[in-house]
Amino acid sequence: MFNIERWEEIFDTIRKNKLRTFLTGLSVASGIFILVILLGFNSGISNGVRSQFEQDATNQIYVRTGVTSKGYKGLNPGRRIQLYNEDFESFNKKYEDEIEYKTSLYSIWGGQVVYKNQTGNYRVQGANPDVQFIENASMTSGRFINVSDIKESNKVAVIGYKVQTELFKKENPIGKKISIFGINFKVIGVFSDPGGERENSRVFIPISTTQKAFNGGNRVRALSYTFNMSENLDEAVATSFAFSENLENDIRTKYAIAPDDRGAVRVQNTLEEAKKIYSLINTIRGVFWFVGLGTIIAGVVGVGNIMLIVVKERTKEIGIRKALGAEPLSIIMMILQEAVFITTISGLIGLIFGLSLLEIVSPMVDSDYIKFPSVDFNTAVITLLVLILAGAISGFIPAHRASKVLPIEALRDE
């Protein structure tokens, strides 16, 4: 393979048959170019879609209860199912190993929030400290609700940055008092949630305070969990579904809800959405690879075809070479190396063109569903290897045929 003399011979042939080489190379280069662009946009789409769904932790489970619609075990339909603090605690204990973050929620709808003469309607939620992580909220100033706030039922509030800008304008809200339904709370922090405007116009207060201040007793309106994600998506989905199913069954058993009563208890698993999205991404990737590989195959078949014609055209030359003492192996290597060389070089050119185009275009592409298209190094290397292999395959048949050329046949005078 690394015979300098033979390479010189091949370069000589290539140099003296420029058009043929150019046309061969063009089909491969364009194939690789298209593949790289496709793969780049594939990664762009997955980046875009991923970032759309990164807003909330993707493994969130949300439990809500409602009114039964079916009679079950002698109980009439129309019962309101109510969860209590004890339920939350018993679930926490039971699923301790799986659960990562947990919170019970007690929302107050249409909560009017007043600061001095500024008023606004925001969603006020009583929650546990973990809600910060479940919602992916980050603090822009101050701190979040902590455990002692819950224990002592402090009248403290954490507000979204939207609430801050609307109520406080440019004033620093930390330490100021706001009034919710006429009850004063001290602002201890401002958060920002990547989920958008609606998520940022919320106010979190300790759940214990909420229950006490707003007549909640020990009732909770909803539960929200995230749990430890496994690296493997399928595995994560499986454990997540098992968890949400168990949780739902526990509630159904405890409150005697008919197994098919959808309205009475609802366990939402966001991973289900995530799974759909990831499978969509995988499908897109599959399609892109398919199209890209198809393009390469077309290119390779093209190279093979041209090499076959080349062998035909060079039959006489090959005959002469054999008469002058060329061994069959040297003829095979000559044709094969030419094919591999042309596919590799033109493939590299296509690769470089594709990569540099992505490099130039990538920073400009930042829409909702396509973000920073790029091809990672491994993919590029794999593509290159596929290419060299393809070159070898496309060269082999013509090379084999060339080695079978009989000098007498080839040299027979026309």
């Binding site: 030359e317 002469i320 070479r321 008469a323 002058l324 060329a326 061994e327 069959p328 000098p407 007498i408």
Partner: protein, 233 residues
């Protein structure tokens, strides 16, 4: 140099076989200049192909420089061709995209000789055939006679034991033919063994021995008075 005993060759043509060579006994000593004559169908091309190891005999023995030539695989045949034989063809068979010197250097490439030595040697043989000034010209820039002389230089370059020429003057006019024959005679004078297949009487008489083939057998084998090619120009 060449020893051939009871050589047979037949070709399968559909259901019936065509017996082309029917027992040829033939020998050539070193330094001979032999012409093989015969009408078309006499088997002279087949005979030359077997001599050139491009084809193999069905039966009989062939010794080249005391080496038995039989049961050759392609690889060994190629090696022997390269080492022992130089070919000259009617239609020159130069590689069209290579210039004169690269064409001459071709057999040296297959001997595994390095580029610089190849070029030196090729130039030496081009000088010998009087075409040193044309070294960088492509075959289509050369006349027929020049092409054949490049081909002769190529055949000589590998320093073979025997030159095999198949109708070397067949595509040339009389004057050019004689010039080429003059060159071949000169090479023979230096001691090279040369076999020429021809159907032209005058060319045959420029060799030292004429072998006549008819219907697959040698019907006549005579030493002749060599006519020097220069005399005819």
């Amino acid at each position: 140099m060449i020893e051939i005993k009871d050589l047979h060759k037949s070709y399968q043509m559909g259901s019936n076989s065509l017996h082309v060579l029917k027992g040829i006994n033939f020998s050539v000593k070193e330094g001979e200049l032999v012409s093989i004559m015969g009408s078309s169908g006499s088997g002279k091309s087949t005979f030359l192909n077997i001599l050139g190891m491009l084809d193999e005999a069905d039966k009989g023995a062939y010794f080249l420089d005391n080496i038995p030539i039989k049961d050759l695989n392609e690889k060994i045949a190629a090696r022997y061709r390269n080492k022992f034989l130089g070919f000259i063809f009617q239609s020159f068979n130069l590689i069209t995209y290579k210039n004169a010197i690269d064409n001459v250097a071709m057999p040296l490439y297959y001997q595994g000789i390095k580029r610089r030595e190849r070029t030196e040697k090729a130039l030496h043989y081009l000088e010998k055939v009087g075409l040193a000034d044309w070294a960088t010209h492509l075959p289509n820039e050369l006349s027929g006679g020049q092409k054949q002389r490049v081909a002769i230089a190529r055949a000589l370059a590998s320093e073979p034991k025997v030159l095999l020429a198949d109708e070397p003057t067949g595509a040339l006019d009389t004057k050019t033919s004689y010039e080429v024959m003059e060159l071949i005679q000169g090479i023979n004078d230096e001691g090279k063994t040369i076999l020429i297949v021809t159907h032209e009487e005058d060319i045959a008489h420029m060799t030292k021995r004429i072998v006549n083939l008819k219907d697959g057998v040698i019907i006549d084998d005579t030493i002749v008075e060599q006519v020097r090619a220069t005399a005819n120009v």
